[in-house]
């Protein structure tokens, strides 16, 4: 007969075995000789912490109460595993590429590393999981008490058992869950131990099942007949519960912190999923295979009123199979302990990373890099968190008295954890999901779960009876179990329906109405398109960061040896010779991910930010920089434009200056010239008039000749003065034009004959009379003056042996142009631009006039609405006179 003492002995031996296995596995992993530790088998078995004592004991109780409904708890995870290719694979990939440490870290990381969101998820998880941990403690206590009832010994009390069990589990979790701070946050020791426990619980349940089917019932057919004859012999599953609980199991499987821990965080290789995808459903199938037979046989053979939750233990015990009962007890013990250990580890990671570390960091101010050992702080925070969580579970168990049926606690816990699902699914598959939406959805879902399920079901006394019956503030439609007046639903179905509907609705609405920060949008893209790219979302500029400081900080978090290995590896990667890597942005980013594995994404970001100081580049900073550089570019392009304008102006000024200088020189030359021109005739006039006055014996002929010279010279002076007067009149605009209409050929005829009359030299003028029959309205006297000037210029300056002038008339698009082209040397290029200036003369020696002819011509043509220009590109001198045709008409001839 198994006694309680033997029981305790076996128990202690089993725990010692677990310690040894965990210790050995850690050693193996440390030495790298652990290929089988990272095998898909271990991974699959570690997933079995889904099956807790609630499964081991509770499933049979559940089946004894409601038939096959219990199976939905295992169908949900089966469906999730079936869809691993597009669901879990993405989750695992994201978890690995972002170094996610917990489900809270995942949500926080996805929504722009929001610590508020992480705290919300952490609080939700702690509140949801504490009853679940209490449930495990309760099941262990119950199983002990059953053995006690079988063979009472002196001093036994539930309270002391549960206390020591809680302490033992906490010690185990602390020893193997917080031994080191690994960047990857993997715990080979714990994982191996729970894999062993997974085997134990499966074997135990299968053994009891086989004993029941073949030992007690006598075969499969007999067992099936016994099922049909039992109180649960007919299908009695409530459809809404069936669907709701399947959904809850799906949600819990991916959202439960402990499941996330083993499935995503402890995952070594994504390909393990391929094996787990069929192996884990197989495990679940085997676990549930004998549940109904055990329940049916238990209902049959056990006395009425026996607790069906304990059939797995009591049936073999009642049949005198002590060894089988012992195995069964170990199975239940394994289920409870593995769940509690992993759950405590996962929760402590969340609490320390998202609650303790941020508080500690902000309390430290900016001294994190120089004072305090972060590594020990993190470890201490986790150890205390584990202790606190276990204490919470213990006190919850003591306060609640452990009365409720196991299954209901489990389902309530599932419903709470499922509130994370919308934010998680939305974060993984919808880039538009925002922090505001996630926070709002989570809050609404959490509040509804609290109000409609947790408080009415478990918090007896917290919620006043009046609220339960009449609703909050007396509003009937706010009754916790009949929201909006919908009555008659199962409490679980009612709560899950409302909380999930409103949670998802508020999440979507909040996401659509709010606008995400740039970091959120980047992280969203990284999560949703994780298979397309897995580069880091933000950059550090390391120019200010000191490698030594980073090294010191990393040592404090990861431990001295690990930090040195990491830094040396990075230095080698960078190809440097020193043992410290350059703080390149790439290195800082990798370092941040390594650290985030230990202290969480937000804390790691803050810590590196403290060391790197102001040069930590947030996306906002980058955007600001981009803005600034855009402004700078615009400014510089404005400057460029201005400087180009300045250069243009300067060039114009230079040109103007040159022109002015030239004009000034011309003026000087002209003054010299004009005084010369004036003095020459004046001298002649004075000399000859003196001769006429003083000489008495002059012949009549001489007198006439001298008087003629005086007259000629006076005429010349008059002409010069006339020209000057003419120019000044033209320039001042006081000229009156004598407009009349005529043929241009007439003007040319007059000009040619006037210019050539009485002139020495032999200028040959060629004209094409046919093209000259153009009628126009103009001042023909002035026009003739221009033409005469041009022809006499040609006469004066054309240096060809046989001087020749071609006058051609064209009608060019609304203008009449008259070209005067001679066959001489033309005007030199350098003076072509000043040829129309006043007082200009190509060459002073040959000058007959005062250099005003062309200037006057230019003024005249401008008064007439036309122009006169020098035509470059001809061998000889070439001038073009253009006249507007508006007032011109083509003649009939």
């Amino acid at each position: 007969m198994a006694t309680l003492n033997l029981m305790v002995l076996v128990c202690l031996a089993y725990v010692a075995l677990l310690f040894i296995v965990a210790f050995a596995a850690d050693r193996f992993a440390a030495t790298g000789r652990s290929t089988w530790l990272r095998s898909p088998l271990i991974y699959t078995l570690s997933l079995s912490i889904y099956c807790t004592a609630w499964t081991f004991y509770g499933a049979v109780g559940y089946a004894a109460r409601s038939g096959l409904e219990f199976v939905t708890i295992y169908l949900g995870p089966t469906l999730v595993m079936m869809g691993w290719w597009w669901g879990l694979r993405k989750l695992v990939r994201v978890g690995r590429s972002q170094r996610v440490t917990s489900v809270a870290d995942l949500i926080s990381s996805r929504y722009g590393k929001s610590n508020l969101l992480a705290i919300a998820v952490t609080v939700l998880a702690v509140i949801g999981i504490t009853p679940y941990i209490a449930l495990q403690l309760q099941s262990i206590t119950l199983s002990f008490s059953i053995f006690f009832e079988e063979a009472p010994v002196g001093s036994y009390s539930d309270a002391s058992v549960v206390f020591w069990v809680a302490v033992g589990l906490a010690v185990f979790a602390i020893l193997f869950g917080t031994r080191n701070l690994d960047a990857n946050e993997r715990h080979h020791g714990v994982v191996t131990a729970i894999a062993l426990e997974a085997v134990v619980k499966l074997v135990a349940l299968l053994a009891v099942g086989i004993f029941v089917v073949w030992g007690l019932s006598g075969g499969v057919a007999e067992t099936l007949a016994r099922i049909d004859a039992s109180p649960i012999g007919e299908w009695q599953v409530n459809g809404s519960r069936w669907a709701t609980i399947t959904f809850l199991a799906v949600a819990a499987f991916v959202c439960l912190p402990r499941m996330f821990q083993v499935m995503v965080v402890e995952n070594d290789d994504e390909r393990h999923l391929r094996t787990a995808a069929w192996a884990f459903p197989l495990y679940l199938l085997l676990i549930s295979l004998f549940v109904v037979p055990i329940a049916v046989v238990g209902l049959d053979v056990m006395p009425a009123g026996a607790n069906p939750d304990m059939f797995v233990l009591t049936v073999p015990l009642a049949q005198g199979k002590a060894a089988l009962a012992m195995l069964s007890f170990l199975g239940g013990f394994s289920s409870a302990t593995s769940m509690v250990i992993v759950a405590a580890m996962a929760l402590s990671t969340m609490v320390s990373n998202h609650v303790v570390m941020p508080i500690w960091l902000s309390a430290q101010g900016d001294r994190a890099s120089v004072s305090g050992d972060v590594r020990s702080v993190v470890l201490l925070a986790r150890r205390i968190s584990i202790g606190a969580i276990m204490a919470l579970g213990y006190f919850y168990f003591r306060l609640s008295g452990g009365g409720s049926a196991l299954a209901s606690i489990g389902l309530i816990s599932f419903a709470g954890i499922a509130q994370i699902l919308p934010a998680m699914i939305g974060g993984l598959f919808w880039r538009g999901a925002t922090r505001i939406g996630a926070l709002a959805g989570l809050t609404v879902g959490f509040a509804l779960w609290l109000y409609t399920l947790l408080l009415p079901q478990l918090g007896a006394g917290i919620l006043p009876q009046s609220v339960l019956e009449q609703g909050l503030f007396g509003f009937g439609w706010l009754r916790p179990e009949a929201l909006f007046g919908i009555e008659g639903l199962d409490p679980i179905v009612h709560s899950v329906m409302w909380s999930m509907l409103l949670n998802a609705g508020v999440f979507c609405l909040g996401s659509m109405l709010s606008f995400p920060s740039p970091l959120e949008r980047l992280q969203g893209a990284q999560f949703v398109d994780v298979f397309d790219h897995s580069a880091g979302p933000r950059g550090w500029t390391g120019s200010v960061a000191q490698s030594e400081d980073l090294m010191i900080m990393t040592q404090r978090i990861l431990g001295a040896r690990e930090a040195q290995v990491l830094f040396q590896r990075e230095a080698a990667l960078q190809g440097g010779r020193g043992h410290l890597p350059e703080p390149t942005p790439l290195f800082l980013e990798r370092l941040e991910r390594e650290l985030s594995g230990s202290v969480g994404a937000a804390a790691a970001h803050a810590m590196i930010g403290q060391i790197v100081g102001g040069s930590s580049v947030s996306v906002e900073d980058l955007l600001a920089v981009a803005d600034e550089s855009a402004q700078l570019m615009e400014y510089s392009s404005q400057l460029e434009a201005k400087s180009a304008e300045l250069a243009r102006t300067a060039r114009k000024l230079r040109e103007a200056n040159e022109k002015l200088t030239q004009i000034s020189l011309q003026k000087d030359a002209f003054l010299g010239q004009i005084s010369h021109e004036l003095r020459t005739p004046m001298t002649s006039i004075r000399a000859f008039s003196e001769i006429l006055r003083d000489e008495d014996n002059l012949t009549e002929g001489e007198k006439v000749r001298y008087a003629g010279i005086i007259h000629d010279e006076a005429l010349r002076l008059t002409r010069l003065l006339n020209d000057l007067l003419d120019l000044s009149v033209l320039e001042s605009g006081q000229v009156t034009l004598n407009m009349r209409t005529g043929l241009i050929s007439e003007v040319l005829d007059r000009a040619v004959s006037a210019a050539l009359a009485g002139a020495e030299g032999s200028l040959l003028v060629r004209r094409r009379q046919g093209t000259e029959a153009i009628r126009l309205t103009s001042d023909f006297d002035r026009l003739a003056q221009v033409f005469i000037n041009l022809i006499s210029n040609a006469q004066k300056y054309c240096n060809a042996p046989q001087p020749e002038l071609v006058i051609s008339v064209h009608d060019v698009g609304g203008q009449v142009v008259v070209d005067f082209i001679d066959n001489g040397g033309g005007v030199p290029v350098e003076v072509q631009s000043t040829v129309f200036e006043k007082f200009f003369r190509v060459n002073a020696e040959k000058a007959g006039g005062a250099g005003l002819g062309l200037a006057i011509s230019k003024e005249i043509m401008q008064r007439l609405g036309g122009d006169i220009v020098y035509l470059p590109g001809h061998t000889g001198g070439a001038f073009r006179v253009s006249l507007p045709l508006e007032e011109a008409q083509v003649g009939q001839g």
């Binding site: 290929t35 089988w36 095998s39 898909p40 088998l41 699959t44 078995l45 038939g67 096959l68 199976v71 169908l75 089966t78 469906l79 999730v80 595993m81 079936m82 869809g83 290719w85 597009w86 669901g87 694979r89 099936l224 007949a225 099922i227 049909d228 039992s230 649960i232 012999g233 007919e234 299908w235 009695q236 599953v237 409530n238 459809g239 069936w242 669907a243 399947t246 290789d269 994504e270 390909r271 391929r274 094996t275 787990a276 995808a277 069929w278 192996a279 459903p281 197989l282 199938l285 295979l289 109904v292 298979f531």
Partner: protein, 109 residues
Amino acid sequence: MSDGAEEPVAGKKTPSVFLERQSYRRRRLMDAARLLPVLGALLFAVPLIWPRAGQPGAVQSSHGVIYIFTVWAVLILGNLWFGHLTRSWSGRDPVDPGREGDSFPPAGG
């Protein structure tokens, strides 16, 4: 996830509009893998329409047990088959471009 990342056939410069036979098979296999959970959910939802205890023609619990566990086993086999097929293309699988060939045999295999 480009299955078109196959080695191009010599002489062809531009990728063909149609995938090669192997890639085509692979894509349809992925479609099947996506449908598997949907199929599972549908099959597991069948008990919702069964007449319950107290109604005429109520289903026997043993039949329910047999049905559920048979569907379950079939789904597991389907996933096993898919996992087996996808194992063979792990080398070119864009999912894991890293080390190839885990020396350890699959669990239970």
